[in-house]
Symmetry: C2
Amino acid sequence: MKKKKGILFIISAPSGSGKTTLCTRLVELVDSLYRSISMTTRPPRPGEKDGTDYIFIEKPEFMKRLARKEFLEWAKVFGEYYATPKKHILHMLKRGSDVLLSIDVQGAMKIKRLKLDAVYIFILPPSLDMLRERLVNRSTDSREAIKKRLEIARQEIARSDKYDYIVVNNRLESALDSLRAIIVAERCRVKRDR
Amino acid sequence: MKKKKGILFIISAPSGSGKTTLCTRLVELVDSLYRSISMTTRPPRPGEKDGTDYIFIEKPEFMKRLARKEFLEWAKVFGEYYATPKKHILHMLKRGSDVLLSIDVQGAMKIKRLKLDAVYIFILPPSLDMLRERLVNRSTDSREAIKKRLEIARQEIARSDKYDYIVVNNRLESALDSLRAIIVAERCRVKRDR
């Protein structure tokens, strides 16, 4: 029984948990689910595409949009700005589409305070060791940055109990199946009283 | 993230909604999910097997077990007794297995008062007309009994908002997928605070 209004699915995961791959596969797999693309002032990493991974914008443009209150939430991380554009999400939810928003724990907790009808999912890496390994293999970060990311990961994992669901990304296919199940199940829910 | 204790999944549906087929298929499909078999004093219908569809027992035996408080709940419907045996369910939940219990709305609401950690799923027939058709085709009931069943169905559907999930049984495969999704999703839930 599909609700008239769409459901906002918010996914957080420590960086290196495989979140991006999972989210990309998930919207391919599930009908009527659309990704919300975040905006950032940070430069694209190798392979990242503007409008797919992020909407990449310059700082002055970001500040203008911030002043116009165009963001659902925003944050400054490692000196760069990140934000969730508001209008597109609210429009999609209103017309009954479900929206997938991939965002860090800090951002997710900010959105939680807005009391939107949202479902919060945390993707847990199998272990911190495996997370370190993935970050090293990705080799986009310096040793110092990896250390910082792991410390943030530790803090984020400690707050995973604020989420509705925890999905362990042991094997990609199994994690993907759990994520799909959560969306299908939530569409059958009688009410979400959070 | 599997909880240490098992989850009790309670499924209700108006008779003729395809509940039995769905439950049978569901336990085949999902790992670590076991059906709880209800007891009844009513005679088996053609094709029903003792110990699979119901545990069929005589009235005096039923009364003895009732006196020994062996039931989680019980009810008298159309002059026959139905009950949910307690011991087996609690044992399975304790050892971490999930249990599927198929039960009518009245019974489900009785179990709800016990404040067990349970998930309530209502299977909705596509329409009352289709339900009538299925009951007529099943041809195990008299016209009078069918009329009574439809009236009960109407009352049961009115109480479906007391459930956590509603699954419409339009097409069997799609309903089965939704049921499976609910179980997979609930196993990822951080907490159930109902």
